[in-house]
C-alpha cells in the first residue's frame, strides 16, 4: 500500500519508487528490487495501476507506472480507516502520516480518527480491568500502556504536522 501511495504522487518507474521508499520508509532496510516489481505487477493485474509501454534501454526498469482511479480509491480508503488499535503499530502509523502529508491529504483528521479508535480500545480494556481478576488486569495493563504510548506519539505528531509537511514535500 505504501508503494501505491507513492505512485499517487506522479507516474513513476520502479526505481523511483524504490528510492523514495528506501529514503522515507526503509530505515536502513532497503526494499529488494524483486519485491518492487512483484508488487507493481500485482497492482497492474488488480487494476490499481497501469504499466506504460516499455521504454528503450537495458534491465527490467523500462516501464513507467500510473495509478488508476481504483488505486487512488484504495489509498484513500487505507489512509482514512484507523488501523486496528493494537500494540506495535509504529510502521503503519508512520507510513500513513508521511504519505498523507505527501499527498496533501488531511493528516490531522486521520490522526483524530486513529486517536478515537485507540481511546475506544482503551475504554474496553479499562472496563475489562474493572470486571476481571488480577491476571486479566495485568494483560489489559500491557495493552493500555502501549496504546497510551501510541497516543502520545499521535498527539506529538499532530502538533508538528506543519513542520513535517514541509519536510516531506521538499
Amino acid at each position: 500500500m505504501t508503494l501505491l501511495g507513492l505512485l499517487e504522487r506522479e507516474p513513476s518507474h520502479g526505481y523511483d519508487l524504490k528510492r523514495d521508499y528506501d529514503s522515507y520508509f526503509g530505515r536502513g532496510k532497503p526494499l529488494p528490487y524483486g519485491q518492487v516489481y512483484a508488487t507493481l505487477s500485482r497492482l497492474a493485474r488488480d487494476g490499481k495501476a497501469i504499466a506504460g509501454p516499455a521504454e528503450p534501454g537495458e534491465g527490467p526498469d523500462r516501464k513507467r507506472y500510473v495509478i488508476t482511479e481504483a488505486g487512488v480509491a484504495d489509498v484513500e480508503h487505507w489512509l482514512s480507516e484507523p488501523a486496528p488499535p493494537e500494540p506495535h503499530l509504529q510502521t503503519v502509523l508512520f507510513a500513513k502520516v508521511v504519505l498523507a502529508l505527501m499527498l496533501d491529504r488531511p493528516a490531522a483528521r486521520y490522526l483524530d480518527v486513529q486517536r478515537a479508535a485507540h481511546l475506544g480500545r482503551m475504554r474496553e480494556l479499562t472496563e475489562q480491568k474493572q470486571r476481571g481478576n488480577v491476571v486479566d488486569t495485568l494483560l489489559a495493563d500491557y495493552g493500555l500502556y502501549h496504546l497510551e504510548a501510541d497516543l502520545r506519539w499521535i498527539d506529538h505528531t499532530a502538533a508538528r504536522l506543519d513542520l513535517l509537511a514541509r519536510a516531506v514535500r521538499q
Binding site: H118, G120, T126, Q130, L144
Partner: protein
C-alpha cells in the same frame, strides 16, 4: 465502544449511535453554548460548545493551555463567560448572581482538583464534612455523613488525621469523598490524578467511577492522560479554545 448511560435517569443511548460534541445527547444536564472567555488580551475559549448527558462521564482532553480547565470553570459557574451561555438543568447559569451561583456550586455540584487542596487545620473527616457544614448541616450529622465515605474509599482509620499526615493518594481520596459527600448532581474533576503515581491514580479513578456509577452522578473530567480518559463514556478534545468530538467514528 459506546456504553449506555448509567444512573437512574440515564436512558441507553439509542443504537450506540455516535454522539458529537455539538448535538446534545439525550437528557442533557449541563451544557456550554458557544462560549467565549478571555483573560486580558489572551483568548482561552473561542466559541466552545459541549453538552453532557445525565449520568454521563465526559472526559475533556487537550494539550496544556488549550482552554480545558477554563471550560470546566465556566460550566461550574466559577467563571462567567464573556459571550455565550451555560445551562444547567434547564436553567441559565451564567446570568445568575454570584451568590446564587455559589449556592448552586455548594448544593448541587462537587469538585475534585489536582492536588487535594484539603484544609490543613482540619482533620480528614472535617474536610470531608465541609460541604455539609457550609450548607448548614449541624456538626454531628455532617461528621456522620462524612464518616460513611471512609470505608467506601479504603480510608478506614484515617478519619482524625490532618492532611500533612496523609499520603498523596490518601489525601486525594479524602478530596474525592469531600467532592461526593453532598450527593452532587455533577462532579467536576480537574486532573484528579495529576499529582499521583500510576497505581494511586488508578485506585482513585476506580473508586471515583464506581461511586458515581452507583449514585448516577454526572462527571466532567478534565485530563490530559488517556488512561484516565478511558474511564469516561465519551471524550471531547479542546483545541485552540474550541471543542471537537473524537467520537465521530462508528463504534
Amino acid at each position: 465502544m459506546d456504553r449506555p448511560h448509567r444512573g437512574p435517569a440515564g436512558p441507553a443511548r439509542a443504537g450506540g449511535a455516535p454522539v458529537s460534541a455539538v448535538t446534545a445527547p439525550p437528557r442533557t444536564i449541563i451544557e456550554a453554548r458557544d462560549i467565549v472567555k478571555s483573560f486580558g488580551q489572551t483568548p482561552a475559549l473561542r466559541g466552545a460548545t459541549v453538552a453532557v448527558g445525565q449520568g454521563e462521564i465526559l472526559a475533556v482532553m487537550g494539550p496544556s493551555g488549550s482552554g480545558k480547565s477554563t471550560l470546566l470553570h465556566c460550566l461550574a459557574g466559577i467563571l462567567t463567560p464573556d459571550q455565550g451561555e451555560v445551562w444547567f438543568g434547564g436553567q441559565r447559569l451564567d446570568t445568575l448572581r454570584e451568590g446564587e451561583r455559589s449556592d448552586l456550586r455548594r448544593g448541587r455540584f462537587g469538585f475534585v482538583f489536582q492536588s487535594g487542596q484539603l484544609v490543613p487545620e482540619l482533620t480528614a473527616e472535617e474536610n470531608v464534612a465541609l460541604p455539609l457544614l457550609l450548607g448548614g448541616t449541624r456538626r454531628a450529622p455532617a461528621l456522620a455523613g462524612a464518616r460513611k465515605w471512609f470505608g467506601r474509599l479504603g480510608l478506614d482509620g484515617l478519619e482524625l488525621r490532618r492532611s500533612g499526615e496523609l499520603s498523596g493518594g490518601q489525601a486525594q481520596r479524602v478530596a474525592l469523598a469531600r467532592g461526593l459527600v453532598s450527593g452532587p448532581e455533577v462532579l467536576f474533576a480537574d486532573e484528579p490524578t495529576g499529582s499521583l503515581d500510576s497505581l494511586s491514580g488508578e485506585l482513585v479513578m476506580n473508586l471515583l467511577s464506581a461511586a458515581v456509577r452507583e449514585q448516577g452522578t454526572t462527571v466532567i473530567l478534565v485530563t490530559h492522560e488517556a488512561r484516565v480518559a478511558a474511564y469516561a463514556d465519551r471524550e471531547v478534545i479542546v483545541r485552540d479554545g474550541k471543542v471537537s468530538s473524537l467520537t465521530g467514528v462508528a463504534p
